[in-house]
Each structure stands twice: as structure tokens, then as C-alpha cells.
């Protein structure tokens, strides 16, 4: 068959929404991260080796040898009933005590849950409100549904209610159809912050007044370091909040088991949509999670995970405190996986990335967490996977990279002579044909 001049005979047949799907330079830079010389503070990969792997292994073996007729067979589109019962027990830890198994839909990770919710509610052009920054995997789902994302600013206490109200009024004035607010209230990905109790109350009040639907994505809620879990938004309103849960951070991301808790009418649509996508969630992994919850000390395991992540968080914050150049700021998470770091004025985390990879340290540039191209001065650091010693060395390398970048900027940011009359401090976004891909095409391993 003769070679097509564009190397792809189907090039003219793709849907318009796939045009953003192209090979990304950032992805190329990340390919080096797999080498042991590189310390990755990039991927949000849980420390699964802290699990009793032999116990889990024999448990899954028993499920196949003893219950193969069920575990290797198709199952219910809504999910394995016993697992849905146990999911209600898990949610009760965060104050959701009124959920019934019939309202739970098991999904292939909560990522599929978010995809289903978005498909069920959003038409192209609809507006989704989301924190700024927001989980990169959620932005990918919203983009695929051709919904528009409007970011709502956050601070150390999470989403700012006044900013949410302002956004709602703006949308109303513009005639935009706001379908829901997407929020990660606990130990936010990527910002690391948690929505305070006062703001939870304020948020629910705004939701009531503006008839706002909330999609609460809560993969990290049980991984607090300082105190017990906060009361979920869903615990405050069962009709206005759709809740997404996941076993990816509390057990294993490789099993791909998550869930959606939604009012009955919504649940029905979610089940139909899920059946169209995957027929049913994988039986074996559902049985595995249910068996794990039935037979293993899972609450103690979550505590163990939290202690491990707390040590890594401490190593991260201590190193940042000791080493980061002046002008760098960062959040101080009380749980979860992430620190959100702001670079000194004028620096751009994406443009700096090749220098970091050269120095054998990796992070995720902030621009990937915004749908609108913002976030250039930010980066996400994940402390969940590397050991504390590696984290310290990684932060040391990162500090040197930032210092070198500051040195470079001090050379070029002051250029204002001769023909460079228009150049003041830090023209950060050059109007040049920069050889980079748009943020929307970049994906990082995160898990949901």
C-alpha cells in the first residue's frame, strides 16, 4: 500500500474535537522521568507498596479459584451489590449516613464517574464552574464534552465563595447555562488546600440561592494528617450534590474502582450511560475491593498511608522552607498528595521545565491545571511517591533550577535599551511560534 503523504490516510475523517489530540513536547520531556536518575515530583502515584501485597495477592487468587463463575463473568451495570453496601460504610466516615446502596453506581475509577456525570448533564457550550486551578483529568473530560470551563479562584481556605457568586452572576448576565460546580474540597489536586467549614456552609448557601448543582470529587478526604475527615458537602444536601468517590488513594489505583452517589433519577441515567460505555464495571476488581473491605483492616491501612504521606509532606515542606529562593511561595497541605508552588515573579514553570529535566528533577507545570492558559507561574509538586530522602534531593535540585532561571531573567528582564523600547520586566508569553503544544493536549499520570 503506497504511503499517504500525511502518514495517516484517515487524517481528514477525524471529529473536530479530536484536533487537539497531538503529540506533546511536555510528554516527551516526561519520558525521561522513568529513568532512576530523575527524581519525579510530578506524578500523583499512590505508594501501593505500603499495602500487604502478599495478602492482597492471595485474596485475589482465592476470588478466581473459589468464585470464578462470578468474578470472571459479566456483572450488573450498576455494580456489585455487596460492594455498593460497603461503599456506604466508607462514605459514612465523612458524614454521609443517609446513602443507600441503590443510589451508588460503581465506575471504572471516579474518572469514569466524572465522565458519566458530564455526559449526562452537559451539551456543547454549557458552562462548568471549577476551581482555578483544577484537576487536569477533569479538564480533559470537560473538554471532550465540549463544555466551557470557568475557573473560580481559591486561597488557602479553598474555593472563595464571593468569587463563586460573582461568577454565577456573570454567567447569568451573559446568558450562560451553568450546569454544575466541580470541586475537590479536600486536599485539593493540585492546590493541596482544603475548603474550610465556614466556606462549606457558605457554599451550600450559595448553591441553594442560585439553584447550583455541585459535583463533589473526593478521592483524598480520608488522607488527612492533622485531624479527622471533614463533613462532606454531600452530607449537607443529598439532592444538590453528586458525590464522586474512589478507592485509588485508599486502596489501589490499579484496580480502577470508583463510584458515584447521586439522587435516584440521576443514578438511573448514569447506569444507562455507563452500560453504553463499558456494559459493567470489571467484576473481579469489584469483588476484590469488597473482599478487602470485608476481611482486611482497611481503616488501619488508610491510617498507615496517611502517616507515610505525612512524613513525605514534612520532608517536602522542610526542604522548601530551607532551600527555596526568595519570592517563591507554596501551600501547606494538611493531607493528600500535593503542594502548589508559585515561582518568583516572571518565571514560567513550563518554559523552565527543560532546565529541570536536565537537572534530573520533574514537576508538573501549572498551566495544565487551567482551561484558559493561566497558571504559568505555578507548578504542582507531588510528595506521595518518592521516599523522604529523594524528596529532599529533588527539592534541592529544583531550588538550583529556580536560582539559575532567576539569574537568566536578571539578564534579560532588564532589557529596555535601543530598539527594545517596549520591553519591560519579563514579557512572559512571547508572541512567537513557540514550539509547544496547547495545554489541553497534555496529560499526566494522576489517577482518579
Amino acid at each position: 500500500m503506497p504511503r499517504h503523504p500525511r502518514l495517516d490516510p484517515l487524517a481528514d475523517r477525524y471529529a473536530a474535537r479530536t484536533h487537539g489530540m497531538k503529540t506533546s513536547e511536555i510528554r516527551a520531556l516526561f519520558s525521561v522521568v522513568s529513568r532512576p536518575e530523575v527524581i519525579s515530583l510530578a506524578g500523583g502515584m499512590p505508594a501501593v507498596t505500603a499495602l500487604p501485597l502478599d495478602v492482597v495477592g492471595s485474596m485475589i487468587g482465592d476470588l478466581v479459584s473459589g468464585l470464578g463463575a462470578q468474578t470472571l463473568q459479566y456483572g450488573s451495570g450498576q455494580g456489585y451489590p455487596q460492594l455498593r453496601e460497603r461503599i456506604c460504610d466508607v462514605m459514612a466516615l465523612e458524614g454521609i449516613t443517609d446513602a443507600s446502596a441503590s443510589e451508588v453506581v460503581v465506575t471504572v475509577g471516579s474518572q469514569q464517574g466524572l465522565d458519566l456525570v458530564t455526559r449526562v448533564f452537559c451539551d456543547p457550550g454549557d458552562v462548568i464552574l471549577a476551581e482555578g486551578p483544577s484537576y487536569v483529568g477533569a479538564l480533559g473530560v470537560f473538554q471532550a464534552s465540549e463544555a466551557r470551563v470557568r475557573h473560580v479562584p481559591m486561597d488557602d481556605d479553598g474555593l472563595i465563595p464571593e468569587a463563586l457568586e460573582e461568577a454565577l452572576l456573570d454567567c447569568r448576565a451573559n446568558g450562560d447555562r451553568v450546569k454544575f460546580l466541580y470541586t475537590v474540597p479536600n486536599f485539593h489536586n493540585p492546590a493541596g488546600v482544603t475548603l474550610s467549614e465556614e466556606r462549606r456552609v457558605a457554599l451550600m448557601d450559595i448553591a441553594e440561592r442560585y439553584d447550583l448543582l455541585i459535583v463533589e470529587d473526593n478521592p483524598y478526604g480520608l488522607l488527612g494528617f492533622e485531624k479527622g475527615p471533614m463533613r462532606a458537602l454531600r452530607a449537607r444536601d443529598s439532592q444538590r450534590v453528586i458525590y464522586l468517590g474512589s478507592f485509588s488513594k485508599t486502596f489501589s489505583p490499579g484496580l480502577r474502582v470508583g463510584w458515584v452517589l447521586a439522587p435516584l433519577a440521576v443514578r438511573e441515567k448514569l447506569v444507562l450511560a455507563s452500560e453504553a460505555q463499558v456494559l459493567c464495571p470489571p467484576s473481579l476488581t469489584q469483588y476484590a475491593v469488597a473482599r478487602y473491605l470485608d476481611t482486611q483492616p482497611w481503616r488501619e491501612q488508610i491510617k498507615l498511608f496517611a502517616e507515610l504521606y505525612r512524613d513525605r509532606r514534612d520532608a517536602t515542606l522542610e526542604s522548601l522552607d530551607a532551600l527555596m529562593p526568595e519570592g517563591t511561595t507554596w501551600t501547606r497541605p494538611e493531607g493528600g498528595f500535593y503542594v502548589w508552588l508559585k515561582l518568583p515573579h516572571g518565571l514560567d514553570a513550563k518554559l523552565m521545565q527543560p532546565r529541570a529535566v536536565n537537572a534530573h528533577v520533574a514537576y508538573v507545570p501549572g498551566i495544565g491545571f487551567y482551561a484558559d492558559g493561566a497558571g504559568r507561574e505555578y507548578m504542582r509538586l507531588s510528595y506521595c511517591y518518592p521516599e523522604p530522602d529523594q524528596i529532599r534531593e529533588g527539592v534541592r535540585r529544583l531550588a538550583r533550577v529556580i536560582e539559575a532561571e532567576l539569574d537568566l531573567h536578571s539578564t534579560f528582564d532588564t532589557v529596555d535599551t535601543g530598539s527594545f523600547r517596549a520591553v519591560g520586566r519579563g514579557p512572559r508569553v512571547p508572541d512567537v511560534e513557540t514550539i509547544v503544544a496547547p495545554a489541553t493536549s497534555e496529560r499526566y499520570e494522576d489517577g482518579a
Binding site: 500525511r6 495517516d8 510528554r27 530523575v38 534579560f412 535599551t417 527594545f420 508569553v429 511560534e433 514550539i435
Partner: protein, 339 residues
């Protein structure tokens, strides 16, 4: 390939290996790919492709990363020759080849010293210009020069001398990583900042409008031979990383849609570059043809991309050769010969 050769000549390494059905030993190749550079992913794609092609041609080929296990691995299980599909530093700057020379390991491709020259784009341009070939005017400077002399004054001189638009690129490296076209003077400082993230020296070159060509050269023993030029027509107008590695984003025409005399000049230039820099076995020169038919040298790659979207395999195909056959012949030529 019209000139089949025996790919199963006995060599010291092959003699230690298994015997095939004909009683002869297939040549054993180690294909190096991966590495610790920005082009790791591209290299892994190239390496995988090379292994498939060599196996298709009847060789025994193994893919290996260039890491701490490499030298002990080669000592324990010697290869008849190594094929270097590493892109970026180490693989292309001559360093790895110098180590293979020390270890007495045969490899396909250019020798270490030639690679060092080709890898340094400003140095390669100097050599190319010195033999009478055309290359866009340029200046290459480290960050320290801007810091010491004042960035404004130096940038002013650059623009005054080279004009606009300018191409700003790292002095080393490939796959268009870090390459920018700057059309407005006020964008130059920011472009310099982002380019210096890739390395300590930046090459600033006068932009030449024209048709982009990839000019592949192979040497199967009878001297360097230019393969048909591949013309590059990116949909976006910019042959950037995405345009290079996403099928569908760029149209490739081989032979190139240029006048026969331009194609001849381009072929001659590629062979002259290959010879002047002391390259061996295979290379790919990137060039641009301006409206007046002049062929301008841009850079040369001693380890050209061999992925499914790379230009070297297209040129091989356009010449009527099989890629696996060409790679196998290059490997067979080097088997058992150290430098």
C-alpha cells in the same frame, strides 16, 4: 535492495551464538535507544523500529538503554555491532561512541570526533560554510556573554546584523525542541530566556523562507549516496515537535516537488556536508530552498530519526530500498571492525 549480501558472515561474537537452519550464525545487533535526554521517547520509537527491521532482515537484534548495565551487558554478551538509535546528547555528541571505541565495540555510524562537530550546530555551520556551501548567517552565544556585556546591546547588534525574523534555537539538540521563530523585536528577550532553558548556548540564525527538505545520505561501501529529498509541508506552517510526531499534521513528499536542478544541488550539498564533517554510514541534513533556488544548510543529524513518522525511512523507501535491508547492510559492514 538490488544487491543482496550475506548477512551471516562469521564473526567472533556470532561464532559464540546459536546456529541457524543454514548452519550459519545470524549477526547479533544491539540497538541502543532511550537515554537520558529530552528525546528519549523519540529514541525509543526509533530503536523499536530498528529492532523490527533488523529482525525482519534476518538479524538477531536486541534493544538496550544506554545506562549502567550497558557495558557489562556488552562484555557478557558481545554484539557483532551496535546500532545507535539514541537521539540527543551522549548518543549524538560523540561521547558514547568514544566509550564504545575504548571498549573495542563496533558500531554503525559516524566516529566520535565527527559527531562532536556535527552535534555543535554553530561549529557544523562554520565547517559547512568553509567548504563553500550556503548556510544562513548566525551568531551563537552563551548566557554569560549577555550577562557580561549587557543583553540589550548584544540583542541590538544581532537584530541590526541578522534582521528579522530570526530563528532562535539551542546550539545542540534535535526534534525542534526549544526552537522558535521570532518576528518582533520585543519578543526576542523572552525567546532567549525560554531557549536557554535547553542549554547554555543559543544559536540565533537569520530566518530563510522556503521549502524545507530532509536530505538523507547512506554509505553502503561505495561512498556516500544521497537518497531522494523529502519535502516537508507542515499543516500549521511550523515543523514543530507535534508536527513531527503526530501522523496527519505534516505532508511529506518524496521525491520533493522542486526543479530537477534544485534536487541535484540539494543532493550534492548533503553529500558534501557528510564528507566535510567526516561522517560515516548514515546522516540526515536539514536544509531549506529559498525562492531563488539556493539550498541553505541548517543542521545535520548523525543519528537520524527512524520512527514511523521520520524522514530517513521515507527517503530509503523513495529510493526503492527496504529499510531493514539498508540497516542490515550498514550493520554487516561494521560487524567485527573496531575504530
Amino acid at each position: 535492495m538490488s544487491d543482496p549480501i550475506a548477512l551471516t558472515e562469521a564473526t567472533p561474537a556470532a561464532a559464540a551464538g546459536p546456529v541457524d537452519g543454514t548452519g550459519r550464525h545470524p549477526l547479533r545487533a544491539v540497538v541502543l535507544a532511550g537515554g537520558l535526554t529530552f528525546e528519549r521517547e523519540v529514541s525509543l520509537s526509533s530503536g523499536t523500529q530498528v529492532v523490527q527491521e533488523l529482525e525482519r532482515a534476518g538479524l538477531d537484534a536486541e534493544l538496550r538503554d544506554a545506562d549502567a548495565d550497558l557495558l557489562p551487558g556488552l562484555a557478557a554478551a558481545p554484539a557483532d555491532a551496535v546500532f545507535i538509535a539514541l537521539h540527543g546528547a551522549t548518543g549524538e555528541d560523540g561521547a558514547l561512541r568514544a566509550v564504545l571505541d575504548l571498549a573495542g565495540v563496533p558500531y554503525v555510524g559516524s566516529p566520535a570526533a565527527a559527531c562532536r562537530l556535527a552535534w555543535d550546530k554553530p561549529a557544523a555551520k562554520s565547517v559547512v560554510r568553509s567548504v563553500g556551501l550556503t548556510t544562513p548567517d548566525w551568531v551563537a552565544l552563551p548566557h554569560s556573554t549577555f550577562r557580561e556585556l549587557g543583553a540589550g546591546a548584544v540583542l541590538d547588534l544581532m537584530v541590526a546584523r541578522l534582521g528579522l525574523p530570526l530563528m532562535v534555537k539551542p546550539a545542540t539538540g534535535g526534534s525542534a525542541l526549544g526552537v522558535q521563530k521570532v518576528s518582533r523585536v520585543e519578543d526576542l528577550p523572552a525567546a532567549m530566556v525560554s531557549c536557554f532553558a535547553y542549554g547554555d548556548t543559543v544559536l540565533v540564525e537569520r530566518f530563510v523562507e522556503g521549502v524545507e527538505l530532509a536530505l538523507s545520505v547512506i554509505d553502503l561501501g561505495d561512498g556516500p549516496e544521497a537518497l531522494p529529498a523529502v519535502e516537508i509541508e507542515p499543516q500549521s506552517g511550523v515543523f514543530d515537535y507535534a508536527a513531527r510526531y503526530t501522523p496527519g499534521m505534516t505532508e511529506y513528499h518524496s521525491p520533493a516537488r522542486v526543479a530537477p536542478e534544485v534536487a541535484d544541488r540539494a543532493a550534492a550539498l548533503a553529500v558534501q556536508v557528510h564528507t566535510a564533517l567526516g561522517l560515516a554510514d548514515l546522516s540526515r541534513t536539514d536544509a531549506i530552498v529559498s525562492d531563488d533556488g539556493t539550498v541553505h544548510f541548517l543542521e545535520v543529524n548523525v543519528s537520524p530519526g527512524l520512527t514511523e513518522t521520520s524522514m530517513f525511512p521515507m527517503a530509503v523507501e523513495a529510493a526503492g530500498y527496504e529499510l531493514g535491508d539498508v540497516l542490515a547492510r550498514l550493520l554487516a559492514r561494521r560487524a567485527g571492525t573496531t575504530r
